[in-house]
């Protein structure tokens, strides 16, 4: 239960952050929620990726006013596949991570666009171009996110050491 709280808070933060992105610029291309789902899949495994994709997809559909389940389908599969990729391959370098994020975006886009077109809800003039540009943007955001995630423990250690030094200096005085 305790281990689920971290990813849940992380995913909620991604949903809220996506809502404050300027729509005309970054918000139209980067799907931070999908980036977070793939990151959870990579870090916590396929079940966590699957669950986070289903839940956040439901949230996005509910908040966006669309049909519930449209976003969740692709995102669940993307999160699951990210978890599978993390166990089957070494996903440590920036290129490998970028590929996973880009692949996850394409899978998610295929689910959303495919269902939307199939049900006659939306029309896409250039679906490949749109999915491709979002895949690149999400890959860049995902690589940066995981780099920051990797870097976080070092920053924490550095901050703790600095605090320790200050405490010693104060006690010495």
């Amino acid at each position: 239960m305790k281990t689920a709280l971290g990813p849940a808070a992380f995913l909620l933060a991604a949903v809220l952050l996506q809502g404050v992105l300027p729509g005309a610029a970054a918000g139209a291309f980067v799907d931070l929620v999908l980036v977070a789902v793939v990151a959870v899949g990579l870090r916590h495994g396929r079940v966590a990726g699957l669950a986070s994709g289903a839940i956040t997809g439901l949230l996005q559909d509910a908040l966006g006013g669309g049909i519930l389940g449209l976003s969740g389908l692709g995102k669940s599969v993307a999160g699951y596949l990210a978890g599978v990729a993390a166990t089957q391959f070494i996903v440590a370098g920036a290129a490998a991570r970028g590929l996973v994020f880009a692949g996850g975006t394409l899978v998610s886009a295929a689910g959303f666009m495919g269902l939307s077109v199939l049900l006659g809800l939306r029309r896409y003039d250039h679906p490949l171009l749109e999915a491709g540009s979002q895949a690149i943007a999400n890959a860049a955001a995902g690589v940066l996110l995981l780099a920051a995630w990797d870097f976080a423990p070092s920053v924490k250690r550095w901050a703790e050491a600095a605090a320790e030094r200050r405490r010693k200096r104060r006690s010495f005085r």
Binding site: L12, V15, L16, L17, Q18, G19, V20, L21, P22, G23, A24, A25, G27, A28, F29, V30, D31, V33, G45, R46, V47, L50, A54, G57, L58, L59, Q60, D61, A62, L63, G64, G65, G66, I67, L68, G69, L70, S71, G72, L73, S76, V77, Y80, G83, F112, L115, S116, L119, L121, R122, R123, Y124, D125, Q134
Partner: protein, 286 residues
Amino acid sequence: MARRDLSSRAPLLLAAVIVAHVLLVSAQVGTAGGPSLLRTGIVGLVTRLQEGSWLAAGVLRSIVDGYVALWHVREENARLARDAEALRGALAEARASASGTEGLRALAGVRASVPWTTTGARVVAGSASPDYRSVTIDKGARDGVRRNMAVIAQGGVVGRVAIAAASASTVQFVVDRSAAVSGRVERTRSEGIALGNGDATLRFEYLSATADVQPDDAVVTAGLDGIYPAGLALGRVVEVRRAGPAYTRVTIKAAVDFSRLEYVLVIVSPRQPDVAPPRAGAEEGG
């Protein structure tokens, strides 16, 4: 142990989740019913959090804007020391504008000029997904806002209320890919359906082959869809392509700048106006 069990059944879980999603989507397609309790519940709950994050982002943005503005003022001061007073005035104006008073003033002007009963609302969150073009506003069912009410802003039509939770609502933009509005070319009265392209434009379809449409024509709502009253500014034609007599592509640039929305008006009483509605493009300055 339980975790290992769950992990070993992951492919089954995946299949179950896919089937559940397909069933969920199927259950909603083709129904004329309103939004589900689940949906309104989610919107009501998450909007509170979104409002907080929107405010935090606003503070952050104003700090950055303030820093940039200060930097510009300093630069101007260095070059034009004698105009220091004028620059201070400009800075004060920029601050007033940043705090949203300008938007409110403009909206008050729009409110006075439309013949329908409206309620003003503040945008509290953007879209939670790049696949949807929508915003969340701080007025809901408690304030008399209902599903499918038209939402307007200074420039023209913004969209419709897609979900009305208790104290917040989701507004679907007219440029959303699944949005459609009956439109009319103001100059020639030619009617068609404007469908959202997902960016800042709409495509004008179902036009008669004899219709006369030219670039820069103003397009207004036709009032035939039961949501938007007639005569509201929708946008201007920016592209017309024809193949023989038939129109192959007519693109409209939306009258409203959706990336800068702060305040909107919800038309809560869509009764037929007694007086003529405002002319299309009246707020556009040309």
